[in-house]
């Protein structure tokens, strides 16, 4: 400590500059005192940047039928999820109008005979039963959206999620998608803000 | 960047490794009783300890020490293989004080005992846990060969450095 060497005069001067720094500090807070608050009064106001927020994932409805998802049911999202929070259930169903694909195959076969080689008896399609997201476990990493080979999944912009129990966050994404498609004012419409 | 101090070091095996691939410039395999001397040499050469990591392998525990230097960066890795039956390595915490906690952590996770450690009590895990969570099941353990750029099993080779008493 070089306090002794500074002498009384130096000490007084140091104290005075110290005191002045306090006054400067008061000036800074005093200056802020008159400014407007920067916070958002939550229930009355909401933030305006939710369009970039990535909330729980949602299924993308197909362009033709908003009640049907674009999902091809490959299960990639299920596999890639680190926390195992996605569960896709599906079953095989025979194509209802088996005629139409048959009508198309000759056209394709003409150009590419190789493809004809395994002739399918009856075309079966996967039909979605349920697409569940256990949001309790989800860490919003986005690996599922990234791994989706088509465009079946995307992030929603829901930030205002609250519930009374864990079961409130076991989402049936299919139902949510349909609810969203049928009523624009339903849950998950924050993005328009 | 001079690594002459490594060349002087008594060790089972010294390899200059590809930094781009392994992130380490030198890899030195030492015997448990040579650890202290190696750590001392690293200290004298101006190195500081980065971390101590343990890998559970078929042949035993591979204790990996990483050292780095402030002025001439270049990671140096020391490796010690100790058998499962007697997982004991001398502590280096009296040379590199930072190793103290790393050793305690390794003791927590693997049960590797660092002999001479001043205070080898649990660090991250509860004191009454009773098992070591990072131990692998015997059938899950990979062999030394299965982990690339680890040189061949040093334990099996009767080395010329056998006459050294610590």
């Amino acid at each position: 400590m070089d306090r002794a060497s500074a002498g009384l005069f130096g000490e007084v001067r140091k104290t005075l500059t110290g005191l002045w720094s306090l006054v400067v500090g008061l000036g800074v807070t005093g200056n802020q005192f008159y400014r407007r608050a920067v916070t958002v009064h939550y229930p009355r106001q909401t933030v305006d940047n939710l369009s970039t927020f990535r909330g729980p994932i949602e299924l993308i409805p197909s362009a033709k039928d908003p009640m049907k998802p674009d999902c091809i049911l490959c299960g990639m999202c299920e596999q890639s999820c680190p926390s195992g929070c996605i569960e896709v259930k599906s079953h095989f169903e025979e194509e209802p109008d088996a005629e139409e694909p048959k009508a198309q195959t000759p056209a394709g076969a003409a150009s590419d005979p190789e493809k004809k080689a395994p002739p399918k008896k009856k075309k079966k399609t996967k039909v979605i039963d349920s697409f569940d997201l256990n949001f309790n476990l989800c860490s919003l990493c986005g690996l599922c959206v990234q791994s989706c080979p088509g465009s079946g999944l995307r992030f929603s912009h829901e930030a205002y999620l609250a519930g009374y129990s864990r079961s409130d966050f076991e989402f049936d994404l299919l139902a949510r998608m349909r609810a969203k498609a049928s009523g624009p004012g339903s849950a998950g419409s924050d993005s328009k803000r | 960047m001079s690594f002459t101090w490594i060349e002087k070091l008594e060790a089972e095996k010294k390899t200059e490794t590809d930094y781009r691939k392994s992130g380490s410039r030198w890899e030195v395999v030492v015997k448990p009783e040579q650890v202290e001397a190696a750590a001392r040499a690293a200290w004298d050469a101006g190195y500081f300890i980065e971390d101590i990591s343990v890998v559970d392998l078929q042949e035993g525990f591979l204790v990996v020490y990483h050292f780095d230097h402030w002025q001439s960066p270049g990671r140096v890795t020391f490796k010690v293989l100790v058998p499962h039956e007697k997982p004991e390595v001398p502590t280096i915490s009296h040379i590199h004080s930072g190793a103290n906690w790393h050793e305690r952590e390794s003791f927590d996770f693997f049960g590797v005992v660092f002999t001479g450690h001043p205070d080898l009590k649990p660090l991250l895990l509860p004191d009454d846990l009773g098992f070591h969570p990072l131990l692998k099941k015997p059938e899950e353990r990979a062999s030394l060969d299965a982990i690339a750029n680890v040189p061949e099993k040093p334990q099996e080779k009767p080395q010329e450095a056998s006459g050294q008493a610590p």
Partner: protein
């Protein structure tokens, strides 16, 4: 059992008892934490006090231990990514980077040029946001309540920007093997440059309010000096080391990514290595990070945000690697071993705070309780990172 005996049994656990046999009589064993306002989360320090002077200190860790290293062994390489945002929640992107970098190094995955720049930008932004939290929290430790609000005001803007590109605000999971998960929008670039300007106007206010404040200076100067020997013995890195006057920064020492293309300085302390030095180094780092962000954004190359050859499903060869990056708290290292399986064989996470905190016990010997708080704050602890 008489009540006194029962009470004695009640008092203390394994860790207090392990400190119990003191060298002198009439000392006080004080448990600071795990619920204590200035231990930042759940650090616990068992102190032996003589009056208000600390005779011995013994940090007790593990209250938020989650065994991330074990999780790494049971998840695939890609599935381990979200864990990285949770090791150090304040500089999540550096951990993202350390792990992604290690895997890329191991598997020889190339990263697209644009992604490298985006990584630099977002990681530096994250560094600034981390320093803001530290700054506010440190002043809370010292008893000033207002600065954290100003810091959070600026940080909110920053988080809004990071949200545009990463989609989240705290526990980012943005980096991918071979690139980043999303490209940036022009408004992000514009907004960030604007924010950088705003910050340059704002930093003098920080200085006037806090840095020049005589009370703060008296609380920080000559407090907790770390000399070079001690820093090296404990393997201190980051601002803690730079505060002691060593210009050791992984961004320079082992240049990774495109850091060698940017002009920036490594702020170092005056040599005293006290809390004030560490404080000043961190504030200076905010400015340097602003420099890097501006340079990177102005020279942001076009191109994809993921390398074309980036593997959709990662196949790791067997091998071992170590990759280090410079986090807000120091050198973050990931020691990764693979036996060629789909999961890592072993992941060792080197948390900078772990080494930095380990010197705390030696540093606080003989200081006042209030100084211990100041020292602890100046080390910038993030307990989840230390406990992993």
């Amino acid at each position: 059992m008489n009540p006194e005996q029962a009470f004695r049994n009640l008092a203390g656990d394994f860790y207090t008892r392990s400190l119990q046999p003191g060298p002198t009589e009439n000392t006080l064993i004080l448990n600071m934490g795990p619920q204590h306002p200035s231990t930042h989360g759940v650090l616990r320090i068992v102190l032996e006090l003589d009056g208000e002077y600390i005779l011995r200190a013994d940090p007790v860790l593990g209250y938020i231990h989650r065994m991330h290293e074990k999780m790494g062994e049971v998840k695939t390489f890609a599935q381990y990514l979200p864990n990285m945002g949770r090791v150090d929640y304040l500089h999540a992107l550096a951990w993202n980077w350390a792990y992604v970098g290690a895997v890329e190094k191991l598997c020889g995955v190339e990263v697209s040029e644009r992604a490298e720049y985006l990584r630099v930008v977002t990681s530096e932004m994250n560094r600034i946001s981390s320093h803001f939290v530290w700054w506010g929290a440190y002043l809370l430790d010292l008893g000033a309540f207002t600065p954290i609000m100003y810091a959070f005001d600026d940080r909110e803007w920053l988080l809004d920007l990071l949200q545009i590109v990463t989609g989240s605000r705290l526990t980012y999971c943005y980096f991918r093997f071979g690139g980043v998960s999303d490209d940036v929008t022009p408004e992000f670039v514009e907004g960030t440059l604007k924010w950088c300007e705003h910050m340059r106007e704002r930093l003098p206010m920080y200085k006037a309010l806090v840095t020049d404040n005589v009370i703060l200076r008296n609380r920080c100067e000559e407090i907790g000096p770390i000399d070079l020997d001690m820093a090296r013995r404990y393997g201190a890195t980051g601002p803690v080391l730079r505060g002691s006057g060593v210009a050791y920064d992984v961004r320079r020492a082992e240049p990774y990514s495109v850091y060698d293309r940017f002009q920036f300085e490594i702020p170092v302390g005056t040599g005293a290595g006290d809390a004030m030095d560490r404080y000043l180094v961190r504030l200076a780092e905010i400015e340097q990070s602003l420099n890097i962000i501006e340079q990177a954004l102005k020279t942001l190359p076009e191109g994809p945000h993921m390398h074309e050859k980036a593997p959709k499903r990662l196949k790791a060869p067997k091998g071992e690697t170590y990759f280090a990056v410079e986090g807000a708290r120091g050198k973050i290292g990931v020691h990764l071993l693979s036996d060629g399986g789909k999961n890592p064989y072993r992941v060792k996470l080197r948390a900078p705070g772990f080494s930095n905190l380990s010197l705390f016990a030696e540093l606080v010997r003989g200081v006042l309780l209030a100084d211990a708080v100041s020292i602890l704050g100046s080390l910038d602890m993030v307990i989840p990172e230390i406990d992993r």
